[in-house]
Structures are given as structure tokens and as C-alpha cells.
């Protein structure tokens, strides 16, 4: 456990300047629920911790189109308290409610979760499925990037050392859409062994207009399984035609299996993850479809 200096900049510009100045000696500090554990275990030895909690990056704002912008320093529990999220992105509430413990969620932030780029993040798959964008700021200005391009490898993102993630932006959630994230884990506090996020939009009660399936915890970064998702687009699925939907699901799942070679490690073997993904994907497609159908009928 090395010693470090704690710095708390009062503005974004100051924060970026410090980060640019200190380079790899500095680590940005958000909720600290991962960072402090890693520091204590000697996995990281920062000389400076730069606390980002004084920059005013907390809170959820609703954009004109009905989408939302989530401040990167918003704690997970603060999102659970957001009525707008609860009403319009209830699947997100469901996910947040099953992350860590109350104590962890009171500190852990959305931005921290994303910037850690952990392969087991529960938020990354669903945010990718929704087509979220990340907004970041550096000394030379702001940029907006698709979350799809954000993760490079575990712990690595496209952000440069002096760049700060400020917001996660979500598009409006259509009345014809349904989304869900299912994960497999051993107990309440465990990390996911495998997770599947599905986001479907229906054209009408029969036809799937858009679909995105994203897997978490099975590879170094979350995977968008394009072929499997494409299989569902344009397909006619309805309640009286469940059998066909099941066939399509099975086909999609087979494609998922082909596109992904799951991680093989102490937490779970590759073949086990493969089996889990298959079953979770089938369940998730069904749930997302039912949810979309329900919201059309409302």
C-alpha cells in the first residue's frame, strides 16, 4: 500500500489540468469502491488521487427528446431514487437494484463503473444495447462518443489520461420497446458470471423493427452480438406464433454461441458460460418481447 496525496479540484478545468500535469502518477477518484480496494491490494500505486466529486457532475437531466443525461458522478442509489428513470427506464432500476449492496451503491458511481471497464460490469451491456453515448471533456475541449467505441480492454477505455467522463446519454425509450438484462451469479454480492442485455423495438404487434443483444462478463469487453440481433430484425413474432419466436430465439442463440468464445477462468469455465449465455439469451429475448408488447398495448 503506497502513500498518495489527495487532491480535490473545484472545477473541471482545474481537474483536467491536474490530470494532464501528473499523467500516469494520478488516478481520478469517483466513488472509490473499486479504486480503494485495488490500491489496498497493491494492484495500483497512484501518487495522487484526484477526487472528481467537487465538479458538479451528479444528477439526471431529461433532454428535450425525452432521453436522459446521467452525470458521471451520480451514485447508483441516486439513480434508483430518480422517478423519471423508474417510470421511463424501469429495466435500469431493476439492474441497479441488484448491484452490490446498499452501502456500495451509496458510493459507487455510474461513471466509475463505466470507466473501470470491468468485464463484469452490469451497466455496460444494457447501456450498449440502448445505444448510449458518453460525453467527455479534456483541456482541448469536449467530445461525444458512442459507448460502442469506449471499451478497449479490461480497465482500459478510449479516454486519455487527462480526459474526464462527464455524462452518459441515453436516447428516449420508445413506447414500442422492451429491454432487460439478465445475469447469472452465485449470491447477492457476487459479480456476474455471464450477463445478457436485450433491447427490442417492435414495428407493430407482429414485427420486430430493431434488436440489440449484448453480452457481459463472457469476454474482456462487452460484446454486441450483431448477427444474432439481426436475426430478429424484420421477423414477425406474435403471441399466437410463439413457436416461430422460439425458433428464431434458438437461431439467435446459436449465433451467439458462434460469435462468442467465453472467458475460461476460476469463476466459471468457458463451456459453462456458453450454456448459461444460451439459456439467458432465450429468456431475455422473451422478456424483452413481452415488455415491448405490453407497452404497445398500454
Amino acid at each position: 500500500m503506497n502513500r498518495f496525496d489527495y487532491l480535490k479540484p473545484a472545477g473541471i478545468k482545474e481537474a483536467c489540468t491536474i490530470l494532464a500535469d501528473k499523467g500516469s502518477k494520478a488516478k481520478p477518484l469517483a466513488g472509490g469502491t473499486d479504486l480503494l480496494v485495488r490500491w489496498r491490494k497493491g494492484k495500483i500505486s497512484p501518487e495522487y488521487l484526484v477526487d472528481l466529486k467537487g465538479l458538479g457532475l451528479e444528477g439526471v437531466s431529461v433532454s428535450k427528446d425525452g432521453g436522459i443525461s446521467i452525470g458521471a458522478l451520480s451514485t447508483l442509489n441516486s439513480l434508483l431514487d430518480s422517478e423519471y428513470i423508474c417510470r421511463n427506464y424501469s429495466f435500469l432500476t431493476e439492474i441497479l437494484d441488484d448491484m452490490g449492496s446498499v452501502q456500495i451503491r451509496n458510493r459507487a458511481t455510474v461513471g466509475g463503473n463505466i470507466c473501470n471497464a470491468s468485464s463484469t460490469s452490469d451497466l455496460a451491456p444494457i447501456l450498449l444495447a440502448l445505444g448510449a453515448k458518453a460525453k467527455a471533456v479534456a483541456l482541448d475541449g469536449e467530445r461525444e462518443l458512442k459507448l460502442e467505441t469506449f471499451f478497449l480492454s479490461p480497465g482500459k477505455t478510449v479516454l486519455s489520461e487527462n480526459e474526464i467522463l462527464t455524462d452518459i446519454q441515453l436516447p428516449p425509450f420508445s413506447k414500442k420497446s422492451g429491454a432487460v438484462y439478465l445475469k447469472m451469479k452465485r449470491n447477492a454480492m457476487d459479480l456476474a458470471l455471464a450477463g445478457v442485455a436485450v433491447f427490442l423495438t417492435l414495428q407493430d404487434e407482429d414485427t420486430c423493427a430493431a434488436a440489440k443483444i449484448v453480452l457481459g462478463a463472457v469476454s474482456p469487453t462487452p460484446v454486441i452480438v450483431t448477427q444474432a440481433s439481426d436475426e430478429l430484425v424484420g421477423a414477425r413474432i406474435n403471441e399466437t406464433n410463439i413457436e416461430k419466436a422460439a425458433d428464431l430465439t434458438a437461431k439467435a442463440v446459436t449465433l451467439v454461441e458462434k460469435e462468442v468464445r467465453p472467458i475460461d477462468n476460476v469463476r466459471a469455465s468457458s463451456w459453462y458460460r456458453q450454456d448459461v449465455v444460451k439459456s439467458l439469451t432465450a429468456q431475455a429475448i422473451e422478456i424483452a418481447y413481452k415488455r415491448a408488447l405490453q407497452s404497445i398495448k398500454k
Binding site: 489527495y6 469502491t33 489496498r40 488521487l49 442509489n77 449492496s101 451509496n106 447477492a188
Partner: protein, 159 residues
Amino acid sequence: MKHTISLKVNGESYEIDVQSETVLLDLIREKLDLTGTKDGCRSGECGACTVMMNGVPVNSCMVLAVEADGSEITTIEGLSKGEELHPIQKSFIEKGAVQCGYCTPGMILSAKALLDRNNDPTSEEVKKAIRGNICRCTGYQKIEEAIMDAASTMRGDEK
């Protein structure tokens, strides 16, 4: 690096010098001598070090003391009024929810955080509220009963 911070602990104001690396847990136990807060896993898993920070429970091992500058902290010592125990504390004793006692302070603060927000929780909500608090003795059943019972007492239900 040394920082001078001010914070309130159990209603009392302190101005105190801390190092950058000092965690809130060590400040509370070593500098303020409030040893009711327990030192467990130091990685946010066991919940023995749970305290309330500005009204919500946090793992004090995962918060730097300097981050707590300006905040209000409640530890287990802040729950009783003199000799008069808090209803949750009474209920834990009555229901036999304490065995070795190491998890108890954290468990009670998590319970308080729940009941502050929701005075009529379901047993499912109680389980979720204490999932960040590990007990290796009781098997949780009696803890759950104690929290449900305390909730009922605090609501003023007739028995």
C-alpha cells in the same frame, strides 16, 4: 499529505487532522475511540464497518477520511439516548439476533437506514437491505425477525 477536516460524528463537531490515506473507519476507531464500528474485510464486502454518512449507510473502510470533510456521521454509539437503547437495538437483544456480535453494529445501522426510508418493509426488502452485511453466526433468520419486530414497534403497532 495532511488535511484538516471538520465533520460531525453522532452530533458532536470535530476539527481534526488526517492523512490522505486515512480511511474513515480508522479515523472513527483510532482517533475518535468509537470502537463500536468494526474492522472486517476492508474491501467493502462484509459491512462490519457500516456507518451512516449524511443519512445513508456506507462502508467506512471504503471512504477516505478526507472525503468525509463536512459530512455528518452516525455510528452505532449515536443510536442510543444515554442508557436508553434504540428500538432496533432492543429488538436485536430480545430476538436473539446477536451471537458473536461482530456484525451487529453494521447490521443495525443498515436496518436503521432501511426503516428511516420505509417503516413497513417486506421480508424481501429487509433481506435486500442487509445483503451488504455478512453474519457468520446467526443464519440471518433472527436478524430479519428482529428488524421486522423493530419496524412494528417503531410504527407503534399494538402487540
